[in-house]
Amino acid sequence: MIITKEINCFNNELVLTNQRALFWKAENSLILSDLHIGKSAHFQKSGIAIPSSILNKDLQRLADLIFHFKANKLIIVGDLFHADYNKDLDEFKQWLTAFKDLKIILVKGNHDRLLNSIYEDFNIEVHKTDLKIGTIKFVHDNVALEENYFSISGHIHPGVAIKTKGKQRIKLPCYQVTKQQLILPAFSLFTGLNTRDFPEKCTNYAFTNDAFFEL
């Protein structure tokens, strides 16, 4: 189930979803980060039995989002691929054949270290450090803010830890939003949560399967 929450940043209408990606109306684009495609196969190669069906699920979710918003563009702010070329990437390529008209733009992250020819082969437009569209700047890990741009980044896999009075702790993924930047949750479900780092004065939009919470 796709639950949404609309916010406005620098006069851009952004639709946050509880499926770990946001939709940008003006550009008809889905914006997401940290897919880490190839992670399960990379683990398998090292003798750690992580099922590949994780990738199927991630891709299924992405397909649902594309259909739901009728998006024609994906802007991925880094860590599309986890490590070396492996069978998961073949599966991704197979999946892509169903979306002939989908344009994919990648701003490289620290994990994206494959040869340029591979990205070409996938028909992915690659930006090495950042990409600016209108007043939005896309970058993998936002280190320095630029005054006239609203930054959208990923990398840190943000989450919030909610501690109840007892021993229980609930961790939820979230979008971290300040006046000048937004940090996306990691798209892949096979990622951990970082509940330690917060930009100053940020609102955390945490979500579950059926709701959003502002914290």
Partner: protein, 819 residues
Amino acid sequence: MRNFKQSQGYTIIQNWMESKGQKPFTFQSKTWERYHNNYSGVVVAPTGFGKTFSVFLAVVIDYLNHPNKYKKGLKLIWVSPLRSLAKDLAKAMKTALDEIGLDWEIAVRNGDTPTNIRRQQERLMPDVLLTTPETLHLLFSQKKNSKWFKEVHCIAVDEWHELLGSKRGVLVELAIARIKSLTSNLRIWGITATIGNLEEAKEVLIPYKGLKTTMIKAKEKKKIDIVSVLPDEVEELSWAGHLGKKMSHKIIPIIYENNTTLIFTNTRNQSELWYQILIEEAPDLIGQIAIHHGSIDKKQRNFIEDAIADGLLKAVVCTSSLDLGVDFKPVDCVIQIGSAKGIARFLQRAGRSGHSPFETSKMYAVPTHSLQLIEVAAVKEAIKQNEIEARIPYVLSFDVLVQFLVTLAVGEGFKPKETYELVREIHAYHYLTQEEYNWCLHFITQGGNTLKGYEEFHKVVLDEDGFYRVKSRRIAMLHRMNIGVIVGEVMLFVKYFSGGYIGMVEEFFISKLKKGEAFVIGGKVVEMYQIKDMTVLVKRSKSKKAITPSWLGGRLPLTSYLTHFLRLKLSDAITANFREKELQFLHPLLKSQEEKSHIPRHDEFLTELIQTKDGYHLFMYPFEGRLVHEIMASLIAYRISKIKPLTFTIAQNDYGFELLSDQEIPINEENIHQILSKENLMSDITASINASEMASRKFRDIAVVAGLVVQSQPGNRKNNKSLQSSSGLIFRVLNEHEPDNLLLKQAYNEVFDYELESARLQTAFQRISESKIILKNASNFTPLSFPLKVDSLRGTMSNEELSKRIERIQKRALTSQYL
């Protein structure tokens, strides 16, 4: 008997001892003789009475009697749980052999052994190898390792009681099984302290039908003097748990009266606090008092241990970090602060003082709240009756089996059928089914049961010759790094920004700290500056408001053996003719409990209902230890909420638990039996707790042991970073994608066996069902309920949905600036 005592070997040893003016203890010569007659067995003896020489010299005598039966190479494998013991032990063995005139080579091999020495050993094994269970398994992962074990005559397991109740015990069982399969006439000997299940301990160590087994118990006993340190007046001791700071002026004179005192606390947190208290109370002790716990830098710890051995320290505040290990001759006094939580642990700690055979161990028990005095009386009684806790061996640990199979596959490879028969012979896998075994094979070769789910997974490969092998060097290397079953918390080094290590803290603790916040570690106040590469960089701080790290795992529950005696003592306490000074001292308090409410006799179960301005309190006192109470509290809350939906605040300690509600709790003489019923126990418990969250926590160790999580070493720079993932994440993934995974099943089983202590819970409810249930209304807090009231560790139990709950938490968070 005559025959043996006339043998050449015995005569040589006898003469050697005589030349030193010694005589063997009866249990020693008995061990020698049984060994001579081809027995395997278990030696039960207190420390300090030469238990090492019982088994070690047995092998020596046998060799002296039949030198031609022994060929070149490894003859005796000596397994001990601690690395630190090995060096001293090897020295003692070497000295003995030099004096006897036997030129055996004795060597130590463990994680600290340098690579060049290891390579040297691999070319030519020594005659005696002192090692750990983990290092033995590492040997199995080497190419052509079986040749090293062909001439082994004996495998001896020292401190078997320490290994038995843990997965390390399973490692030992597996190692013995493999070595036994490689050599023709192996004798297996264990050395253990007294525990509650000695017969079982023997069965687990030596499950082989073809071996003659025996148990030899030393008659020698360690004398122990237990003294309760009482405050001047009963009122001085708080009803509730506090640090007992007021007792510090009673402790200082004890320190001065003795040479060296070990002061045991239960948590690292408490040891840090007590260290501060003691140097404040007696500043001239600075420099003569040290602090020792698992989070202090290893070099620093070694330094402190050497200083104790050299008699340079008056006192050391420590935790279980000094429970075991080399003997400290100068230590002549031990102080236990708070409860030792168990009889065995109490004895173990007491035994750290007065170490030589005929000295008396001196133990001062310092209560931190009044009811602990009853505990001291209970421990004394238990020791008098020689009732000591059992160590329950692990069974069906699939994680260890999976690790073992991969170890074999990395080493020489294994054949599935033979290995199945090998593991089925040992206690841990006696009930392993063919299906379960096949699953394990499946898991290491294909990753799981899902077809096509693991195309890139080729950890272990089935070769054409029918052997399972690991082909990839990288996988072999990762596996070797991961052998073992001790899974630590994720620890970070703490280092000064300007350089210099201080110690280690759990990531869990640091994750809650903000930059600039001060905390105490190793007796120093520092402030957090930065976290980098698994290292916390800190600066010195002058802050008065430093937090003491709360290391996890410090909260052990009282053992069921101890609580049994506790109930008996409390039951006796009110009758007039008691002689124990602890009970005498507590009399005013106990009398007040009897007047305000009731003191439960051994065949009674007490429930108190108290109404205050906080709300309606329900107190129950099963005296079963914190863990069981935590579960019972959830269960009782669940059963009451079926009568009337209520939200409770829950608190528990080692004696009982409290349910607090803002509405009247519908409990009365009629329905209380129903609420405490033993019927539908496990199903009600499953409904009342969050089993999957508990299982997820248990899965942490399992995932590491089974090789699903690559452990990162503190201080290491990002090794295998692309392979990092948390066990919680893998637990979630497997739950969703591979629900039949046996390692998940094991996690749930471990929750029921160890976390819920289901056996103990069932016994408790059985006992309650046979007890007379007493329901009392009290107008105010009673001495029994008060400690619970102030217990800070509170949990909430409610049946609201997650989203609703978060909304509620969110509101609270906004008002208290939670994030």
